[in-house]
């Protein structure tokens, strides 16, 4: 079964205007009858919030399971379709559905439900407040699902870690014409380089030192080029291997404009060796080397903003991404891959660490989402010729404490420390806001320099 599009509802954005319902009535009415809207927006007076009743096109539709006439069936297009020729009007489907997704319409004389208007939902088109979204992410997952998984089954990550998701999805897209570098860290720990002499992936993979990933990839990429072969040079590194120990080689390669796709999976520390602090560890966070005790209260320095540092190198492409926003990640991976054929592309992925940050293994995506929604991790994208663009609105973020309270590594924070983090998050957001405001003209270089020529020179 493949995943399919859904209509998502954001109660916080809904003001109950009812345009969606009217649009539905227009779309579904005929000369014979005025249709009952297949989407209902309703107010819960107790909470003061708007709610929705609309079919979710369940993967496992209960309405269909309980239908005694086999009149409901989920099709390959994802729509749970109703067959009027078979329906006997028993209404048992309305007992099976817990969303109010299928209901009797007196005007029409039978049960009615949403069919997403053949891929162009009219309710979504009519919503001016962004409360309804037609989410087609599922199509992307299906497309990705069709690509070959180039990691072997059975990577040994911690339960609930999103790194496996990042690795597999990335390599599926980047494809088999790749040389992969995975410096010491969680990624080889999970088995990218294999066990017992067996490879962990189906592309050439190597295990550089923590310090020289970008240099080794530089050499490999150039050597292939010299031999007339264009391969993608891909690094999957942790934040330590990228931003601390590995920074000199990374910085050098970026500055030279090497044609490399460098992906940093940032879990804010040296997690596979027992959760030591790194340059990316948040101020105040507990780690094995920034313990909590009578006087020690976690890390005493702010994290450095590695993606911004990379941007100042004038790379071809730099972006931040999160596994809570896969559509955005996919689009950025696409752009980064493309840019890596011209110069240095750097992708920074937030990777909440279930073991080291101390949160339940089921909450990884939740944590990742909160980080973004609180501006703790801002999603943006930089192209050398267009400057920095924010990927989502950062005005009106959720309070940072909503993020902090999810994580055990922050449990000890006192009010001063929280205020410090809040200030830091606000400052970082302000810097990005300013950068995004520069609105450069298309095609003009904003930061950085032209490095292709030199790279070519050295190739000779």
């Amino acid at each position: 079964m493949s995943a399919t599009p859904t209509i998502a509802f954001d109660a916080a954005r809904c003001d109950g205007c009812g345009h969606c319902m009217n649009a539905c009535v227009s779309a579904k009415s005929s000369d014979a009858h005025r249709a009952q809207p297949r989407i209902q927006i309703l107010r819960d007076d107790e909470s003061g919030r708007w709610g929705i009743a609309q079919c979710r096109q369940c993967g496992d539709p209960r309405c269909a399971s309980v239908c005694p006439a086999a009149a409901l069936e989920k099709g390959d297009d994802g729509i749970v379709a109703w067959d009027g020729e078979r329906c006997v009007n028993c209404l048992i489907c309305t007992a099976g559905c817990t969303f109010g997704g299928i209901a009797f319409s007196a005007a029409e004389g039978h049960v009615v439900k949403c069919d997403q208007c053949e891929g162009a939902p009219q309710c979504v088109a009519a919503c001016t407040r962004g409360a309804l979204r037609y989410v087609t992410t599922a199509n992307l997952y299906n497309r990705w699902g069709d690509l070959e998984d180039l990691f072997v089954p059975g990577l040994g990550g911690c339960q609930g870690c999103n790194t496996e998701l990042i690795m597999r999805h990335t390599l599926r897209r980047v494809g088999s014409n790749t040389v992969l570098a995975t410096p010491p860290g969680c990624i080889p720990g999970m088995g990218s380089v294999g066990y017992n002499g067996m490879l962990g992936c189906k592309v050439p993979v190597f295990h550089p030192l923590l310090t020289n990933t970008a240099s080794m990839l530089t050499g490999i990429r150039r050597q292939y080029k010299r031999k007339g072969r264009n391969v993608t040079a891909l690094a999957l590194a942790g934040d330590g291997g990228a931003g601390d120990v590995g920074f000199q080689s990374l910085s050098g390669a970026a500055e030279r404009g090497e044609q490399i796709l460098f992906i940093c999976v940032d879990n804010e520390g040296y997690m596979n060796t027992g959760a030591q602090r790194s340059g990316s560890t948040t101020y105040g966070a507990w780690t094995a080397t920034t313990p909590i005790g009578e006087s020690a209260r976690g890390k005493t320095q702010d994290a450095k903003n590695l993606p911004l540092l990379m941007m100042w190198h004038g790379c071809e492409y730099v972006a931040t991404a999160s596994t809570a926003f896969m559509e955005d990640f996919y689009a950025k991976l696409e752009a980064a891959l493309d840019a890596s054929q011209r110069g240095f592309a750097y992708l920074h992925l937030y990777s909440p660490c279930t073991s080291g940050w101390r949160f339940p293994s089921a909450s990884n995506i939740e944590v990742a989402r909160k980080a973004v929604e609180t501006n703790f991790a801002v999603l943006w994208e930089y192209r050398r010729d267009q400057g920095l663009k924010l990927s989502r609105d950062i005005e009106d973020p959720a309070p940072v404490t909503e993020y902090l309270k999810l994580l055990g590594k922050f449990r000890h924070l006192d009010a001063t420390q929280i205020a410090h983090i809040e200030r830091h998050v606000a400052e970082q957001a302000q810097v990005l806001r300013e950068l995004a405001r520069m609105h450069p003209r298309e095609g003009r270089q904003v930061v950085g320099h032209q490095s292709d020529l030199m790279a070519v020179d050295l190739d000779q």
Binding site: Q40, R43, I52, P68, R86, C90, T94, A103, F104
Partner: protein, 420 residues
């Protein structure tokens, strides 16, 4: 002897849902589904619509053969279970063949209960559970001048309406003093009964059949202390009994149905049961009627299937909540959950709107501010949402009033906030 990892007995709602659940977790295990019928599975619930002629019998199959093929399930018709030997994990079929199983699901449903009425075995009477029953009843209904229906439960009421529509003069006889006992209170039942009366159906409640006797072309039904009434067609719709005839001496404990735990395991090792064949515990933990309905069969089937396949996502079956969507003469009555007991006490609250003569009736029952039951005639709401609110023991608080005013919108708004 043939051997399968899973054997499922029956091919109706409980069985089909279990199959899906098993395959969702175990993609390789061998599965056989054995149905006694010689045709594709048909839901008992759809039969009234076959009797009425609304649906032709060749357009009602729950699944086509291809569905079983796609799941790689060995689906067999005319495979009638005759005896179970759970000690040796072996099943004997009516044709004498034997089949071994790793895990077995009993989903053989129920059969019509035939009440001990003097003379009943000497007359021709109808029941309604299988497609054959429905076809026979449809045929007989075409020519019946006078029809008598024993029992005013859902089956009897549905059939009575169909027979009346087909032109018969129909009398319904119910032992208890209202129609649809257990599903609706007396006020609601009276509204429904009035509709039958308006459509020319005679409903006799609080009456008992003493005896039936054959008569040329039909039978005579003798009521307690009353005139005998003649019938060309007699339909017995006096409830159901679990289909457990093949379980004698099997090691599977049977009381009012197969005894199961919260994961639908029977008392015999490697034997599960789900649906109408089971003695369904009430969600409320009291004597409220539970089970015997389609949504429960599906829930139990899923629970059993997941448990059989060892799916770690399986959750304990919460117990049955009565749930009915009943259509009569183009109108609708809905019931979910339980009514308040006679001597309820202060923790119970009953909200009612629409008495006699009003255009709709609605009753909402709460205990400690939590929804216990919703009963409506000519009022629409989403029974599925009410069911969920009951199962989740959601505290309604001040929302109870809104629920009484507009049960559909108020419950939807509340539920929407509870889903994420």
């Amino acid at each position: 002897m043939e051997q399968f990892d899973y054997v499922v007995l029956g091919a109706s709602h409980a069985a089909l849902e279990a199959l899906r659940a098993i395959r969702a977790h175990d993609s390789d295990g061998s599965i056989a589904v054995l149905d006694r019928e010689a045709r594709l599975p048909v839901s008992p619930t759809v039969l009234p619509y076959v009797v009425s002629g609304k649906r032709p019998e060749d357009r009602i199959a729950l699944r086509e053969r291809g569905w079983f093929d796609d799941l790689r399930v060995d689906y067999r018709q005319q495979a009638h279970a005759a005896a179970l030997d759970s000690a040796h994990s072996r099943l004997r079929l009516a044709d004498g063949s034997e089949i071994g199983y790793g895990k077995l699901l009993l989903a053989t449903g129920a059969a019509p209960a035939v009440p001990p009425i003097a003379g009943l075995s000497d007359v021709r009477f109808h029941v309604l559970r299988t497609l054959d029953d429905a076809l026979a009843l449809r045929e007989a209904g075409r020519s019946a001048g006078r029809a008598v229906v024993l029992g005013a439960g859902l089956v009897g009421m549905h059939a009575a309406e169909n027979l009346a529509r087909a032109g018969a003069r129909v009398t319904i006889i119910e032992m208890r003093d209202q129609v649809l006992p257990g599903y609706f209170d007396a006020t609601a039942a009276a509204r429904i009964q009035a509709a039958f009366h308006d459509n020319g159906v005679e409903v006799l409640t609080g009456r008992r059949v003493e005896r039936v006797a054959p008569r040329a072309g039909g039978c005579t039904v003798q009521l307690d202390g009353g005139d005998p009434c003649d019938a060309d067609l007699l339909l017995v719709a006096a409830g159901v009994r679990p289909e457990v005839s093949y379980l004698a001496g099997s090691g599977v404990a049977v009381e009012r149905g197969v005894v199961v735990d919260a994961f639908m395991r029977s008392t015999a090792a490697n034997v599960w049961a789900a649906g109408d064949v089971v003695q369904t515990p009430s969600f409320f933990g009291d004597a409220t009627p539970a089970g015997g309905i389609l949504p429960d069969a599906v829930e139990q089937g899923r629970t059993a299937g997941m448990s059989m396949a060892g799916d770690p996502g399986v959750q304990a079956y919460p117990g049955g909540v009565s749930l009915n969507t009943y259509g009569f003469f183009g109108r609708r009555a809905l019931s979910v959950g339980r009514d308040a007991p006679q001597q309820g006490g202060a923790d119970w609250e009953v909200l009612v709107r629409g008495g006699e003569g009003s255009d709709a009736y609605l009753k909402i029952v709460l205990r400690d501010g939590r929804l216990q039951g919703v009963f409506g005639v000519d009022v629409l709401f989403d029974p599925g949402i009410m069911w969920e609110l009951i199962l989740r023991r959601v505290e309604l608080g001040a929302r109870a009033k809104a629920l009484l005013e507009d049960p559909q919108d108020a419950a939807r708004a509340l539920m929407s906030g509870l889903w994420r």
